[in-house]
Symmetry: C2
């Protein structure tokens, strides 16, 4: 059993471009309901950890643009637990900011980092895994990661190479972190049975991650110290605004995970999905007998394997397949399922043409 | 040169279901602009015949629901030339109604029957052909038809089998009218060089068509006489309402053309298109280098051979091809081009579900 407080940092600063046009700068993916549940992705994320720790121990890192949305969606989240990054600087500075807040309040504590927009279909198993990660992280200076046993050679995820004999309890030692592979490499990873998907979830003691950040990103150390000193003072916003933008934009994987020792992974399978693009909707929502997921006022004639999300108007589909159709108040997307990754090209065009209201 | 007045009857009672959702019961195809021109189909039809005859000699048969639309779109069309059928009864009763109106006003006259929603790309040639049809129809009791030299084995049209040696001036004698063929039959027709497309355009003397109607549809004779007698009296509307609905619902092709003698055809080619479905839009409008016809606010990424008609909102297409996408205020169609003929199945569903506002 843990004696240190179990804290959680939820990273909710993303823009969810791959869910355009539903996801917008003003209302990104994590604040949308994308599953069969009417609760939003971040609401589901918080719901899922409520039995694991008190809401007072939950921090959310996001942009100040989303503070109000967050307060509307998670009304009992303490205002001081909303950490607004002045600019996006990838995951390493985000985690560092969370870590100094937690150290300031708790001294040392257990810290679990979670994405705000992933799906977990077996929340009990998920919490049991997090608890084991906490137990192991507390017992020494380990960095605990959650690896997902792959069921296909997915090229959209990073992978964790582990040493396939138990190191401590259910955890395996991590040999290395690898970036998103091409399809052939992914096939090799999966068939070797020595790689897990990197879920982007981590557990460590705050003292441990801060020590690692000092070691591998020493140029953040002084800034982090200034921020920590200013927490709870009228200077905080100013110090953050002066300091944070100067941090390097770098991921925690690249900054720490690919270099640190003492990393372990729990090989888990709790119905995880990163809900990385519209394609995920076919995986995570109920499909009809023709493989369609239709929401709203839709009439479909001989239509297969489509995702159609109607907005205010009737959508009639005739003889189409493998399409993603998403209607919103001011924009409509029609995308081949195989090309869902290219929605960002639409956003590029919108930026080039200065059509910012659609972003 | 004609000595009889050249009159024209434009048939404008159709519902244009194949152009849903742009075409609606309240605003059918003939009142829409479907070409690169901003004028509507019926405006183009009237424009095209203005050099051929005076607007006072032009009659339009339609439903009373469209009287106002017609007056808005053709403001100089005399009100008494708008013939409102109380119910739709196919083309034979429609033509008969036009014929008795024309006989009442002119005694005998030349009468050309035209669809309201076809496209003609060479209006000069078109008018020259009509003039020749008039000259030939006036010279004896011929029924003149306009046949189009086919450029593909189209299964959506009826065909005219002609005897391939000139009978009088440029006209050929018609051997028979045939209904829409299957593809194999259509191929045989086209390669035989003895069949023309039936354009649904006819020219005759009013006395000739009324004699033929009396002969082949004798049960309409008394009703037609009552209607003719009531024209210009306060009884007209009542007589029409009592009489017209009892006429058989039958096409002029089936009622007269497949039986009458003395039918001739002019083999013409004036860039005719019946604009029979959304597919026609790719033929009659400018396409871009990828075969797309896009109107309105459209961003297309790797998109080919599509017809996309945006309404009030942005439409983004990514990696799609061979689609028809039509956005309107309350309904959106996404249809495979090969299945454009099945749009009526959407209308069936709408009727079944009593969603009448979308019809």
């Amino acid at each position: 059993m843990s004696t240190l407080t179990k804290t959680v940092l939820i990273m909710a600063g993303g823009h969810g471009e791959r869910f355009w046009p539903s996801s917008r700068l003003a209302m990104p993916k994590q604040f949308l309901a994308l599953t069969d549940d009417s609760r939003t992705m971040i609401q589901l994320t918080v719901d899922r950890i409520r039995p694991f720790t008190e809401i007072e121990n939950v921090y959310v890192a996001t942009s100040s643009a989303y503070r109000e949305l967050l307060q509307q969606q998670i009304p009992d989240l303490p205002a001081e637990n909303i950490l607004c990054e002045p600019v996006g600087r990838n995951t390493a500075p985000c985690i560092a900011l969370g870590a100094v807040h937690i150290r300031k309040k708790y001294g040392d504590a257990l810290m679990t980092v979670l994405p705000s927009d992933h799906l977990v279909q077996y929340p009990n198993i998920f919490r049991d895994v997090l608890q084991e990660a906490c137990d192991l992280a507390e017992s020494d200076d380990s960095i605990m990661t959650i690896g997902i046993t792959p069921d296909e050679p997915e090229t959209g995820y990073g992978y964790i190479k582990f040493i396939p004999r138990r190191a401590k309890r259910n955890a395996y030692a991590v040999e290395r972190f690898v970036e998103k592979p091409d399809l052939e490499t992914a096939r090799r990873y999966v068939s070797s049975r020595e790689y897990l998907w990197n879920s982007g979830m981590f557990t460590w003691k705050v003292s441990v991650i801060l020590k690692n950040l000092e070691k591998y990103l020493p140029r953040m150390t002084e800034g982090l110290r200034s921020i920590e000193n200013s927490i709870g003072t009228p200077d905080y916003e100013r110090v953050l605004r002066d300091t944070f933008p100067r941090f390097p934009s770098i991921s925690i994987d690249y900054a720490v995970m690919e270099k640190a020792k003492n990393i372990y992974t729990l090989a888990a399978n709790f119905g995880w999905d990163d809900v990385g693009s519209w394609l995920a909707v076919s995986r995570i929502r109920q499909t009809d007998e023709r493989g369609n997921v239709h929401a709203g006022n839709v009439i479909a004639i001989d239509t297969r394997d489509t995702i159609i999300q109607a907005g205010g108007k009737l959508i009639a589909a005739v003889g189409v397949e493998d399409l993603v159709v998403v209607d919103t108040e001011d924009a409509l997307l029609i995308c081949n399922k195989d090309r869902a990754g290219e929605i960002k090209r639409v956003l590029q065009v919108l930026k080039e043409r200065n059509m910012t209201s659609y972003l």
